[in-house]
Amino acid sequence: MIAFWTLAALAVTSAAMIIVVRNLLHAVLFLILSFVGIAGLYITMSADFVAVAQVLIYAGAISVLMIFAVMLTPRSDRDNAGNMLQAPALVLSGLVITAVSMVAVETDWRLADRVAFESTATEIGDALVSPFVLPFEIASVVLVVAMIGAIVLVRED
């Protein structure tokens, strides 16, 4: 329980800081912190493989990519600028937060009626090749499309 609340507080606070800080680079650093917090939450739910993937891919690879993107952009074009829509956005996100948290508290969530997996990596692997082989294959086509698209749009000609 203590672990859960600490990690949840870490994830939520750093997520809030992403929006609050003005410097975009600091925002990315807070984003990494938030990713790590979420990875911790996965561990408390004994989803160890997802946690490792979260750290490796999100906290690792994607954040590095983002830092590169931020560093390579001229300073005047980045950083959070204020504008007229701040107040409505605050109201809207406040409403969404209230609605979602109310739902989360009120609902009688369906709990999985099975024992914990011994190791999640093998289970995920089995699921990916046996029942969910098709979405797995479609995902590979999606990656091909993303790659072709990135090359076509960025290539100089």
Binding site: A99, V100, T107, R110, S130, P131, L134, I138, V141, V145
Partner: protein, 482 residues
């Protein structure tokens, strides 16, 4: 459990062939030095036609792949539908891509790959498969919309489409997680079973999940209030891709909605029916009223297609066997008509470089065939008798009214009259305004003429003999409500 799964890969043959076709197009583009790049659209169209013929082998067969997707008449209907659409779009792209865009190989490959996503959106009976197929279609469209990368509008439209699309996907996924949390499954049949009993223990989460799923999918089909990307993406995209957006991306969204809501959410009809009805009403009104003020033909058709989405959403709101077959009929008529309109607009743009509504002046003198076909298509879109639009709308409105949504039908009929006004504005430019001095008749390529004539015949065929197509549509939707 895994031993009982039906992992019959032969069911997926058409899509494997499509992936192979895309690879072939890329390879031809890359390796064959003296290969004429202008042949690529014909290779793509011929390949699509061949796979289309192959997929007809599954007519009246019913099977499923590991419970993830069904191959039944519904799937076969949409396989034919999407491949035919993509083939027509490939053909009308030929001249445009050669003149205006670079990298034709990737263009046609993405076009072919996107049909796989569209087909599986219609076929899937499981939320994750449906989601990843939706992403496949969306990714292709993001790239294709920004394909004219040296034009600011194309970049702007593509970027808006991608950012809002990613946002909508996130909302859709969150909604799916709510559905999973309350039903304990991502398979449509299991979700329906879980919701069949008492849902009061989790009705708030269910409602939130439904709202989020509707918001995510509403974005993909451009329903109000999730339509903001549509005019910019339509205007920025290369013209053939605008045609493709208005056809495949919408129809695929509705194919998914229809299977999902009839297969999984039917037991909780009361929770979502009013939301969809409200969305339909807003979409019809806003789409048609804003279309009145447009000066660019692409933006006009963007808003008019938003209005059309409103009519289609009515069928989801009043979901039943009758409305869903009417929806399939209406979508077929709409897509044939829209492709006919866009074929003329693309040909006119290729010849004159104009896509403002005022730029259509003198079209009747300079290209009489295109002018007549475009007029027929616009009349059909507004729902004039004899054309496809009249009968398909009539069937749809009648089916919706029979389900007790008379007020929606009234709005739809009024909005159809509004739409006639802005279509007539275009027709006035075509026929009443005279060409400027020294503008001669223009030569229309034979292929485009043939395609225009074929599509226009299609418009009349659906309008005069709708029974044939309606029978097919009824056959296709029969299993949804079995």
């Amino acid at each position: 459990m895994s031993s009982e799964l039906n992992l019959d890969y032969s069911l997926l043959t058409p899509e494997f062939c499509l992936a192979g076709l895309a690879a072939l197009i890329l390879a031809l583009d890359l390796f064959v030095d003296d290969f004429r790049k202008s042949w690529l659209p014909y290779v793509a169209a011929a390949g699509l036609a061949a796979v289309l013929a192959l997929s007809l082998g599954w007519v009246n067969k019913e099977s499923d792949f590991a419970g993830l997707l069904s191959v039944d008449n519904y799937t076969t209907f949409f396989r034919v539908f999407f491949m035919a659409t993509a083939a027509v779009v490939a053909l009308v792209s030929a001249q445009f891509v050669q003149d205006k865009l670079r990298h034709p190989g990737e263009y046609y490959a993405l076009l072919v790959l996107s049909t796989i996503g569209a087909i599986y959106m219609a076929a899937s009976r499981e939320l994750l498969t449906a989601y990843i197929s939706l992403e496949l279609l969306s990714f292709c469209l993001f790239v294709l919309v920004s394909y004219a990368k040296h034009e600011r509008r194309s970049n702007e439209g593509g970027l808006k489409y991608m950012l809002l699309g990613a946002f909508a996907s996130a909302i859709l996924l969150y909604g799916i997680s709510m559905i999973y949390g309350t039903s304990g499954s991502t398979f449509y049949a299991d979700i329906a079973a879980a919701y069949a009993g008492d849902t009061s223990a989790f009705d708030l989460a269910l409602l939130l999940g439904l709202v989020m799923v509707l918001a995510g999918l509403g974005f993909k089909v451009a329903a109000v209030p999730f339509h903001m990307w549509t005019p910019d993406a339509y205007e920025g995209a290369p013209l053939p891709i605008t045609a493709y957006l208005s056809a495949t991306s919408k129809v695929a969204g509705f194919a998914l909605l229809l299977r999902l809501f009839s297969g999984a959410f039917m037991p909780v009809l009361d929770d979502w029916q009013w939301i969809v009805a409200a969305l339909a009403a807003m979409t019809m009104v806003l789409g048609n009223l804003v279309a009145l003020q447009q000066h660019n033909i692409k933006r006009l058709l963007a808003y008019s297609s938003i209005g059309q989405v409103g009519y289609m959403l009515m069928a989801i709101a009043a979901l039943s066997a009758a409305t869903s077959s009417a929806l399939l009929l209406h979508m077929t008529g709409y897509v044939i008509t829209n492709l006919a309109a866009f074929t003329c607009i693309i040909a006119w743009y290729n010849l004159t470089g104009r896509d403002e509504i005022s730029g259509f002046r003198g079209m009747a003198e300079r290209t009489p065939l295109l002018a007549a076909a475009l007029t027929a298509a616009l009349f059909s879109l507004s729902g004039m008798p004899l054309f496809a639009g009249f009968f398909t709308k009539f069937m749809l409105f009648q089916a919706v009214a029979d389900e007790g949504f008379l007020w929606l039908t009234v709005i739809a009929v009024v909005m159809s009259f509004v739409s006639l006004y802005y279509y007539l504005l275009v027709i006035r430019e075509i026929y009443v305004s005279k060409p400027e001095e020294g503008e001669e008749r223009l030569p229309v390529p034979a292929l485009i003429s043939g395609l225009t004539v074929a599509l226009t015949i299609g418009v009349f065929y659906v309008g005069i003999f709708p029974r044939h197509l309606l029978d097919v549509a009824e056959e296709a939707t029969k299993l949804l409500f079995a």
